[in-house]
């Protein structure tokens, strides 16, 4: 998929662990791990909002568009 999740990079910058963030945004560790590794089909606005609020970042910091190789 050309949309890449850069959540791991932002989390590393903010020094926030997966468990810590999952607890703060009220998401299970499993689901956050799936999101972090890009194994999901989509992300809800309220999840994105919670992540941005907790990590103090913009949606563009988490999501990146990369053109697929033809």
């Amino acid at each position: 998929m050309p949309i890449i999740i850069r959540l791991d990079r932002v989390m590393a910058d903010r020094k926030v662990s997966l468990n810590e963030l999952a607890e703060k945004i009220d998401l299970t560790n499993v689901n956050l791990s799936l999101l972090k590794t890009g194994k999901v089909k989509g992300i809800r606005f309220n999840t994105l909002e919670a992540i941005c609020r907790e990590l103090k970042c913009q949606p563009g910091d988490i999501l990146e568009y990369k053109e697929e190789d033809k």
Partner: protein, 196 residues
Amino acid sequence: MESKVINNLVKFEKAVKIIFYTVLIGGCIIFAGIILLFVLHQSNVLTSGKGGIEFSIPGLIARFDIDVFAGPLKAALISTFIRGLMYWLLFTYIILQFHKILRISISECTPFTYKNAGYIRNISYSFFIYAIIDFVIQCIQSIWFKKIQLTGIHGIDLYYKITFPLWPVLVGFIVLCIAQFFTYGLKLQQDNDSII
């Protein structure tokens, strides 16, 4: 699922299991008994007045002496026997599939699984197969027993007539639609689950 719902499902599963074995064993005994009577009659062990078959439906009992195997009703009895056997097989198979659905629902903690959708689809296929076999039996019956037209037996006229059984096709189609809705719902659920 809640533990209360699971407990109820376990109870249902046990009840369906008992029904399945009752129908299976009961049917085996009944059909084996009829075959045994037929064989005994054919080998002249059982003669007239020494045995028979009793059919019972709510509010009505019909007794047939062993002689019916030799009379003009023989062909009609054979076709009734085959049809009865098919009804029993269909009914037993449906109960078995239903039991499997309950078992999967308990083990997976949800009834909404692809396996269960497959079992529902199997039930619908069994109705289609039943309709086809019933039609084939009617065709064979009308070819083989064409000359034996049962007329004038105590004011009852019996003739063979080929008709395609529509009710199993209709029921099978409805059950197949339910299975398709089930599968589609599962796909939607899977899509929804993959959005965080």
